[in-house]
Amino acid sequence: MFCFLLLGNCAAAAAVSSNDLIAKAHIYDGRTIEFTGEVVGDVMIRGDFAWLNINDGAQAIGVWTNKQAAEKISYVGDYTHIGDTVKVAGQFHRACPQHGGDLDIHATEILISKQGHKVKHTVNNYKFAMTVILLLAIVAVSVWSPIKKPK
């Protein structure tokens, strides 16, 4: 397993799922939590900071981190990639006062626990055959004239 320390040692914090964070936001509000998931979409650099969106398989949660940490992300999840899996420790906000009430995590530590990779999508031969059959069917129906019954 590939492991890369970005900001420091991951402190002991309660590991929480996205569903729990959303459903019990009042309980976790302001607390230091640990959240693990795949970085998806884009690394959005904002000045000296950056937004990451991290999906644990149920929901994606926004993570506000510093630029240096964000730049260490090698892969973000999309159609052609599985993004890096990261373990985030930081302060959870139910309605972040700094970010217009967003539910987010302000990261203090980010650890890449598994590096992402490219995904190869293979072409399905049955679909190719189906395309050819449908093309032929369209040609056939185009040249076909229904026989009209004599009145």
Partner: protein, 503 residues
């Protein structure tokens, strides 16, 4: 007495449906090209199969059921209502083939949600969806917002009376221009001009907010389509929250409001008559309603979002999203139920239920009808307060001065009651499946008013019966009932009507 429709009547209906199916098939070339550009070869085959399947069935229906006559009223309305179901079935094929749906029913749900510009979704693993699939999801909204029949009128059908009858079936009564084909083309002109402007604006915002150039413009075009067509789909699973961006939220708010304005109003404004914006009964009603409901929601949410900016970005944003019928979200669906109090939820339900403008891409009861009710109430008060011999004439301004007649109030009332009944029926089905009343009502109104906000009920694991209920609600809500009543009327007349020529 109902006349029994003949076989010839049904042949004409099927023939025109065939034409619309071919049109839909041709449009699938857009996601196909997207797939080819981004080397998504397997998805390209999905779109090829879907396109060819649509063209094959469309041609076959036209060959088997040739039509020489124009459509009458009931046939035109029936073509429209059935076409939307057929569009759902065909639009769902590439979605199902993409592998992101648990079942074909789920893909149909999203296809209807897309075409009806609702925005409720059952897609899985959205963050790993191909660009071409996202293009198709958002294009469905763009097509459905303008109207599937409007597309066909623009490109496939000659200017006939039958064309107007299909156009009306799509909840569009207003002829902005004298000819219905010109009207359809004007709707497309407006939409395409806005699409270019909106894509550039959102693309630039996205780029400056940290998205790579190509993705920022792709996202810009998709989010614009969903905003202007008051749809609500987004390319990432967090919807608009994904961008964590105030400029993005402000821009989408403007586009949502733009999309909820009447195309007739846009026509006169485009021709320099800006005063119409302030005189029109519909814009007055709409903006009064948005203002009142937003203020009340802001007060209700003071304890949830104590900071002014948070209250604006969560409270006001979602009321604009709800009232315009868009369904964009910057919170997670379960937060509505877990964090918003009951009065705030009620305000959102009312905003969704009322909806935007008539002859726009918005759903719901519509501001014009609400305005007409207020004018009718005013007229009744005046009548009671006037001497018995006085004749009270009530006027309202909508593009031109119109005298308020009983038939206008009656037709508005029929649609109003139909919407209320649909909202209620959907909520009862939700409750019957064991969901709490508030959430079930929220989701039902969201589906029938084609909004797309969710309180968390809509998910791939919800019961199939509820999925079908919401599909029906989205369908009847988008077409505003009349064409669907006519469709059932035709079936009923076929079974019980007297023999005779219905044409």
């Amino acid at each position: 007495m109902l006349l029994r429709p003949t076989n010839e009547d049904f042949k004409i209906i099927v023939h025109y449906i065939g034409r619309l199916i071919v049109g839909l098939g041709i449009i699938l070339v857009v996601p196909l090209i997207t797939a080819l550009v981004f080397n998504e070869w397997d998805r390209a085959l999905d779109f090829s199969i879907s396109m060819l399947l649509a063209i094959f069935f469309g041609l076959l229906l036209q060959k088997i059921f040739p039509a020489t006559r124009d459509l009458n009223w009931s046939q035109g309305l029936a073509v429209t209502s059935i076409s939307w179901l057929v569009a759902m079935l065909l639009g769902a094929v590439p979605l199902m083939l993409s592998g992101h749906y648990a079942s074909y029913l789920d893909a149909c749900f999203d296809a209807m949600s897309g075409f009806a510009t609702t925005g409720l979704t059952l897609i899985q693993n959205l963050d790993h969806v191909a660009h071409s699939v996202n293009m198709w999801r958002h294009l469905m909204m763009f097509l459905g917002g303008q109207g599937i029949v409007v597309i066909a009128l623009t490109f496939l059908v000659k200017g006939t009376a039958g064309a107007y009858r299909m156009y009306v079936g799509e909840a569009r009564e207003e002829r902005i221009l004298p000819n219905v084909i010109q009207t359809a083309r004007f709707i497309w002109l407006i939409s395409l001009v806005y699409l270019v402007i909106g894509t550039v604006i959102l693309g630039l915002i996205g780029f400056f907010e940290g998205l790579p150039l190509v993705r920022s413009f792709l996202h810009g075009s998709w989010v614009f389509m969903a905003a202007f067509d008051t749809g609500g789909f987004a390319p990432q699973s967090q919807n608009i929250l994904y961008y964590h961006s105030l400029p993005y939220e402000l821009a989408t708010m403007v586009f949502m409001i733009l999309g909820t304005l009447n195309f007739g109003l846009q026509y006169v404004v485009w021709h320099g008559n800006f005063r119409e914006l302030f005189k029109n009964i519909e814009t007055r009603t709409l903006f009064s309603s948005i203002t009142i409901i937003s203020l009340m929601t802001t007060l209700c949410l003071l304890s949830t979002y104590p900071y002014l900016m948070a209250n604006f970005r969560k409270g006001f944003y979602h009321i604009v999203s709800a009232h315009s019928g868009t369904g964009f979200m910057t919170i997670y669906a379960p937060q509505f139920a877990s964090e918003w109090n009951l009065p705030a939820l009620l305000m959102t339900i009312i905003a969704m239920g009322l909806g935007g403008s008539a002859c726009s891409t918005a759903g719901g009861i519509k501001a014009l009808r609400i305005g007409i009710f207020f004018k009718a109430l005013l007229q009744d008060i005046k009548i009671i307060m006037s001497p018995g011999s006085a004749i009270v004439v009530q006027k309202f301004h909508h593009i031109k001065d119109i005298i308020l007649e009983d038939r206008l109030v009656r037709s508005a009332l029929i649609i109003f009651i139909s919407y209320l009944a649909t909202y209620l029926a959907g909520a009862l089905v939700g409750v019957a499946y064991g969901y709490p009343l508030a959430e079930a009502s929220f989701e039902s109104v969201s589906a029938a008013a084609n909004v797309g906000l969710s309180a968390g009920l809509t998910s791939p694991t919800m019961p199939a019966g509820l999925k079908i209920t919401y599909i029906i609600e989205m369908w009847v809500g988008r077409l505003e009932f009349m064409s669907i009543f006519i469709l059932f009327g035709l079936v009923f007349a076929r079974l019980t009507g007297a023999r005779g020529k219905s044409h």
